[in-house]
């Protein structure tokens, strides 16, 4: 950004610490009156060097590290990492384990969308929304706690399977939680879409055209709200997603309200997917017996090669590029997160809007600095 300011212009720094932000980053805004004429983002305040750390850990030790890329999407991060290693080492996963993985990953999508929506509500001055969604999110987290033994960082997936089977009574408890969540989602929709203030702030604001969204390299709900039906679960099916019936939720308007509505719809789809899984999943082992990469194998060597494995994160396309040199540690890991392009696209998106809309637009994109910095 050009630091020189003209007459009646000023530069405002949002951050590195600001209640609006999903983690520390600095947003520099050049304002002319109320209008944003120029913007840029500075990252690096929580750069953790996870890619370098992974090079110095064995494959199994890497699982808890990738959990911590972003605590909201821990399960899908694990899936991308474990899936990449499985592709490299050619490990088969039994069907029951695949279904359990889909269940926990969709639960992870539910809780991420719920928190994202609550934060968005808080950003636009609707703090009660945060209280509503955090309550429902806690129920989802208890379900995950039941399966994995942890609320946010699970370390649950293993190469060739999962750590534990579903506990007794999971189906009944999830049915109760989903019934209440379905009611709540109908409420959220009414709360949002029939509120006069919300309508004025969020309909027709922060509009992304499909072509711009493609050029900016976006993925996930922000892209699907512009009408592009890009979903890795459909385009590049992993696990058992090809056997499951679900639709890719899209909207056409591309404004803030469209992004929120896509997330609301996706939550209904996620619950539908989990219910299908619980009905369809076969009995069987969690690991194949001849797999030498089960939980009991401390040292695991992966054949030489490289692979790019991607999965659908709650925010979009999560990819791991992994290079192996045949040893027990990865030679190089590149984490391609969905939030990175989203954060990059923020300055062009907020240029020309007013300062008051910045928080609403940034909130509706559902960013996470922890993942962008890694």
């Amino acid at each position: 950004m050009d630091e020189t300011v003209g007459p009646s212009e000023m530069i405002v720094h949002l951050g590195p610490q600001h209640p609006m932000q999903p983690g520390p980053f600095r947003l520099n805004l050049k304002l002319k009156g109320e209008t944003v004429v120029d913007a840029d983002i500075e990252l690096g305040f929580i750069h953790k060097g996870i890619e370098k750390i992974l090079e110095n850990k064995t494959y199994l030790q890497g699982i808890p590290i990738v959990d911590r890329i972003c605590y909201l999407t821990a399960m899908t991060n694990e899936e991308a990492y474990v899936g990449a290693v499985e592709k490299l080492a050619d490990i088969e996963v039994p069907e029951r384990s695949q279904y359990i993985r889909v269940i926990v990953e969709e639960l992870s999508r539910l809780q991420s969308h719920l928190l994202g929506m609550g934060e968005f509500g808080a950003f636009i001055g609707f703090v009660s929304m945060f209280m509503y969604t955090i309550k429902e999110r806690e129920d989802i987290l208890s379900l995950m706690d039941m399966v994995t033994g942890a609320r946010i960082t699970h370390t649950f997936l293993r190469f060739g399977g999962v750590r534990d089977d579903l506990p007794e009574g999971f189906k009944e408890r999830s049915a109760a939680v989903f019934a209440s969540l379905r009611e709540q989602i109908a409420d959220y929709e009414r709360l949002f879409n029939h509120d006069e203030i919300y309508k004025q702030r969020c309909f027709g604001v922060g509009i992304l055209e499909a072509k711009t969204a493609r050029d900016l390299g976006l993925s996930g709900p922000a892209l699907r709200a512009t009408g592009v039906a890009f979903d890795i679960r459909k385009d590049e099916p992993y696990l058992v997603y090809k056997d499951l019936d679900f639709k890719v939720c899209t909207a056409t308007d591309g404004d803030i309200a469209a992004r929120i509505n896509v997330r609301l719809e996706e939550m209904l789809e996620s619950m539908y997917i989990i219910e299908q899984c619980l009905d369809q999943m076969p009995n069987g082992p969690l690991f194949f017996e001849d797999s030498s990469y089960g939980v009991r194998t401390p040292v695991m060597r992966v054949p030489e090669g490289d692979v790019f494995h991607r999965v659908e994160d709650p925010r979009g396309e999560m990819g791991f590029y992994m290079v192996s040199d045949g040893s027990d540690k990865p030679y190089r890991v590149k984490i391609r997160g969905p939030v990175y392009p989203t954060m990059q696209a923020l300055p062009p998106l907020i240029k020309g809007t007013t300062l008051a809309d910045v928080a609403a637009i940034a909130g509706s994109m559902d960013g996470c600095t922890s993942e962008a910095d890694r």
Binding site: G44, D215, L216, F308, E317, Y331, K334, R336, Y340, Q344
Partner: protein, 158 residues
């Protein structure tokens, strides 16, 4: 559009500069490329083969071969084939043309590759560090011979 026809089209067009072009699976193709051709190939892929989504761009360091390999993963919103392009650069002076004019979101990936590996991207609009503090600039921390602060072993290489 399937993997086979994509590779055929690319090999036809850039016969001399593509090495080891192959179909890895139904949804993955890969090739090694001469560094001079990178912008031209990306432009061709974007215009003719619907590769409109730069999924990721990074580098891998091979000190024994004295090489840094820049890796591009280019996908598409319309079909599910993902192309991996690898470009070998000399480790002591890695330099390559920036692809920001073709793929807008390459900007940050190239800035990150620059600060972590020391790969210089020519004609990049703003080649400044992104996630690292200024003090670590020139250490190239993701290179294999980096021993960590304060042993700046890789500092004098580039």
């Amino acid at each position: 559009m399937d993997a086979k026809s994509i590779i055929d089209s690319l090999v036809n067009k850039f016969q001399d500069s593509l090495v080891d072009a192959k179909v890895d699976s139904d949804i993955r193709v890969s090739a090694y490329l001469e560094p001079e051709k990178i912008v031209e190939v990306c432009q061709y892929m974007k215009d003719e083969l619907l590769f409109d989504h730069l999924s990721s761009e990074t580098a891998v360091d091979y000190p024994k071969r004295n090489e840094i390999v820049v890796v591009y993963h280019i996908g598409s919103y319309d079909h599910s084939v993902l192309m991996t392009i690898k470009v070998k650069l000399p480790r002591d002076a890695p330099e390559i043309e920036s692809i920001v004019p073709v793929y807008w979101n390459a900007n940050w990936y190239e800035r990150e590759t620059y600060e972590l590996f020391g790969v210089k991207f020519n004609n990049h609009p703003y080649l400044k560090p992104l996630v690292l503090p200024d003090e670590l600039m020139g250490d190239w921390p993701l290179r294999k011979d980096y021993e960590g602060f304060p042993n700046r072993t890789a500092r004098n290489l580039v």
